[in-house]
């Protein structure tokens, strides 16, 4: 209640705008406002703002709620957080709870499982994860017990260790006392109970589906003599059912996570119908799908389970998790909207499942459509995220397809591969690089230690210092040459030969030419030749420097040859590379010292930064030395760089998950957020994420490190981009993606789903590329 005074208060003014006054109060305020035209204008402006605000955002209310949110709201996350790495549908946790007690126990479960109990190679070969193996072992162990004991006590507790979730017989009785007629569990599982509906469950698989349709009741089935192989395939009923019911292989079933918790209310005698018939849900005494699935699972003999596991192992993708897009929206799993949203078919299926058993037929149709759609999606490349239809998927995928499988390459290999490429034509203009580095270094305030919060920033500062020294050296040499025009042109060959001798000084004596090289060779005694340096990134840096020096020698030889007939001429483009290299070696030592202090997680990133900084500086020297025109920065080049590397240059210096991707550990945080469960690197490896390679991507101003993880189980390629950490450096090239923007890009080609952190449409890339070039 707004209390009004004689004087127009701020509160009453806003209450007037927001229509939160009573009629009398409204009139009173209106009268007060008559004498204050300025306030009237303000009120009008506020009302216009309100209207525009609602005009912009009200359509959201009319939109369809995303299915994942809808599921989440209805079913919550408790008990439904589907961990697809933990679940092993063949031995679903739910099936064991009451199945032994309520359905009786097939004597076959008592059969020994020696082949499995003594098959550690299954685990060793990663065909089964630890949970699955333990579960299998538990089954095997149980099989040695008395079947009666197993049925009465052991089974409910030994397999899952969780309290029963499925109502027992008492609850079924209670269920029968409700408005519905009493129905036994047999009725629920016979064809008449289900009609032609497809109560195909991922946990039941083909056998389960067939047995669901088998006219034999569960009770009949379970009282058959021990050891009797129940060949469902031989059954005419099963054959008929197989024609009616979609038999989805267990490992290809993807509906379980969303389907198992759906409450199927059986209100009336179901009829055989191919069309979905809406039935009003009855809240009382529901029978959950999990119950039915459990009953169906109980039909499976151990031999059948064992055979199915063997079949699965023999198949090409036995226990592979499904691609993310093939998974149904499981409540509790964080589904990023970058993934394909569950479609209307999914939604209809859930609605149908809620409606009653007669509508399960709709479920069947929805699943068929969904399966077909999934297959089409898997077979056909699709666009990435919405709004980016022009994203050059094929080109990107072609690059990704080139990713070599096999062991993770060593850092040295990555570095060597990167720097071994022919870079005689540089991707940047040296003067531009120098200018940009100057800009960066100018923004550093050595007194401001807050700028150096990260090791990379400190290293960059060191790099700027080195660059400054190099520039001073260049200026000094230029001045010297300018002052003394008769100064002989440096003999690059001799200088570099001296350098080589320094590397191999233990085995080769100095030549006379080398001894005559003057003072410059003396400065070339570097730490690169220290073979005793510790292995790791420091070694990699040394190797990189060595590579660059080799390139330098090649170019210097060319340059020297060009100068042979040009004696006496002073070339202003001469680079005192000897001095520069000595600086770099000092720089290398500093880096090595810093790397020793850096945490192991950061070393890769820091090392990458170092390599690139060194590469830029040395590359600049090479370009200046060779005198070749460097490539001019162009829109196309920037664009191509961004596309090639799928780089998300985030001005916020954070990736889209809000986590600075400065290390693999933090990338794991990002992955955890995406996967909906806590993951660390070890888990990622266990779950099939293999660190394929590191791509160090040079840019004009900075670098980007792309860690590529391949999830073979889910057939995903996940790219983690480590953006630059320094906003000042990155701002010129920043793709101005606002906080929280969708940075996930997915696409499919050849049944492989690719996920990239970056989600830059080509138009957006062009936009910021153009902005960058304009700014330069």
């Amino acid at each position: 209640m707004i209390l009004l005074s004689d004087k127009l208060s701020t509160e009453s003014l806003h209450a007037f705008i927001d229509e939160q006054l009573s009629e009398d109060q409204y009139i009173q305020v209106e009268a007060q406002l008559d004498g204050i035209p300025r306030k009237l204008v303000e009120i009008q402006q506020c009302q216009v703002i309100n209207e525009r605000l609602r005009e912009v955002f009200d359509p959201i209310v009319e939109e369809d709620v995303p299915d994942d949110l809808y599921y989440l709201a209805l079913y919550g996350i408790n008990g439904e957080c589907h961990d697809d790495t933990q679940d092993f549908p063949q031995f679903d946790h739910a099936q064991d709870d009451n199945s032994g007690a309520s359905t009786g126990l097939n004597a076959e479960i008592g059969l020994p499982l020696d082949p499995f109990a003594s098959a550690p190679e299954l685990r060793d070969e990663n065909l089964m994860d630890a949970n699955e193996f333990a579960e299998l072992a538990a089954l095997s162990l149980e099989s040695e017990q008395n079947p009666a004991e197993y049925a009465s006590a052991a089974m409910p507790n030994t397999i899952s260790g969780s309290p029963p979730e499925i109502p027992g017989d008492e609850e079924h009785s209670a269920y029968g006392s409700a408005s519905q007629p009493l129905r036994s569990i047999d009725e629920l599982t016979t064809p008449s109970g289900l009609g032609a509906s497809e109560l195909e469950s991922p946990a039941t698989g083909s056998h389960g589906s067939a047995s669901a349709a088998h006219p034999t009741s569960l009770q009949q089935f379970f009282v058959e003599p021990a050891g009797a192989e129940h060949s469902l395939a031989d059954s005419a009923g099963a054959e008929t059912a197989a024609q009616q019911i979609e038999t989805v292989p267990l490992e290809q079933s993807d509906q379980f996570s969303a389907f198992d918790e759906l409450e199927l209310t059986l209100e009336e005698e179901p009829t055989v119908s191919a069309e979905p018939v809406p039935v009003e849900p009855v809240p009382a005494k529901p029978v959950t799908a999990k119950q039915i699935i459990a009953k169906l699972l109980a039909e499976q003999t151990v031999a059948q389970k064992r055979q199915r596991v063997l079949d699965a192992f023999e198949s090409s993708e036995p226990l592979a998790l499904q691609p993310l897009e093939a998974q149904q929206p499981a409540a509790g799993i964080i589904r990023h909207s970058g993934f394909n949203q569950p479609n209307a078919v999914d939604f209809a299926r859930v609605r149908a499942a809620k409606s009653g058993p007669a509508a399960i037929a709709a479920n069947a149709q929805a699943k068929l459509k969904d399966k077909a759609k999934t297959e089409r999606r898997l077979m056909k490349p699709t666009g990435g995220a919405a709004g980016a239809p022009e994203f050059p998927i094929d080109e990107i995928v072609e690059q990704l397809d080139e990713i070599a499988s096999g062991p993770e390459p060593m850092t040295q290999d990555v570095v060597a591969e990167f720097f071994a490429e022919d870079r005689t034509e540089l991707d940047f203009e040296v003067s531009e690089v120098v200018r940009q580095f100057e800009e960066v270094s100018g923004k550093f305030n050595p007194r401001d230690k807050t700028l150096f919060g990260s090791p990379v920033l400190r290293i960059k500062h060191q790099a700027d210092t080195v660059l400054s020294a190099v520039k001073n050296g260049i200026a000094g040499v230029k001045n010297a040459l300018a002052q003394n025009g008769k100064l002989p042109f440096p003999d690059f060959t001799r200088i570099l030969a001296a350098f080589k001798i320094n590397i191999l000084k233990s085995s080769q004596p100095k030549s006379s030419a080398e001894r005559n090289a003057g003072s410059i060779p003396a400065k070339l005694s570097t730490g690169v030749e220290r073979e005793a340096r510790p292995e790791g990134l420091s070694r990699a840096i040394g190797e990189t420097l060595r590579l660059y020096k080799q390139k330098l020698s090649q170019i210097a030889a060319v340059a020297g040859a060009e100068r042979v007939g040009d004696a006496g001429h002073v070339d202003q483009r001469i680079v005192p590379y000897g001095a520069a290299l000595s600086r770099f070696n000092g720089y290398q030592q500093k880096i090595s010292g810093m790397l020793e202090k850096a945490s192991p997680e950061n070393r890769m990133t820091i090392g990458g930064a170092i390599l690139l900084v060194v590469g830029l500086v040395i590359g600049g020297s090479i370009s200046s030395l060779s005198g070749r025109p460097a490539n001019v920065i162009s829109v196309e080049k920037v664009e191509q760089l961004a596309i090639d590397a799928h780089i998300l240059y985030s001005q916020q210096s954070q990736n889209v998950a809000g986590t600075p991707a400065v290390s693999i550990a933090e990338s794991m945080q990002w992955l955890s957020a995406r996967m909906g469960r806590q993951m660390n690197l070890a888990d990622a490896q266990v779950e099939g994420f293999e660190h394929q390679r590191v791509i160090i991507v040079p840019t004009m101003l900075s670098y980007a490190i792309t860690n590529i993880f391949a999830n073979k189980n889910q057939q995903n390629i996940t790219l983690f981009i480590a953006p630059d950490l320094e906003p000042a450096v990155n701002s010129a090239l920043a793709c101005r993606v606002p906080a929280g923007a969708d940075g996930l890009c997915t696409w499919v080609k050849d049944s492989v789903r690719y996920i990239a952190v970056a989600n830059l449409s080509l138009s957006r890339v062009r936009a910021f590329s153009q902005a960058l070039v304009d700014s330069l």
Partner: protein
Amino acid sequence: MDNYQQSFADTIPYLRRYASAYTGDAVSGDALVQHTIECAHGLINFLQDDTDIAIWLFSILHNIALEARKQVDNHPDNEVLNIDTIDMALLEDIDPDDIDIVTALAQLPAEQKETFLLVSLERFTYEEASQILSVPIGTLILRLNSARKFLIQRLFLDDFAELRAVQ
């Protein structure tokens, strides 16, 4: 409380609208709503029968956003989280006609923005909004006043407003 799930589902469109306006884009908004619903399910035992579920959900959403803001405020790179109009103008999924108000909202301080959105967009009463935000009504009015002054300045009085008027 029985059947709270349906109430959750019924409130989601409004949560999405608010979250989308608060975060500035639909994707982040949906993520925020998802987090809200998850938390709400976890806190369902604290829900009393006489609690207005919509207010309860909005208060959860507010608390999540507040927590996120605290983390951002404590982040050393919080300076770069500011979004200028150029950034927003590059967004493709914003109607050009709406860029001014969206960017103006983005520049509002978070406290003022959430107050303004709850009252103006979601049309909560001052009592309800103060309950959601856990602030006295006086504070709420002050924030609302500041927000509206800012928006008026931004949308009607400065250069940006003139530019829009020309368009």
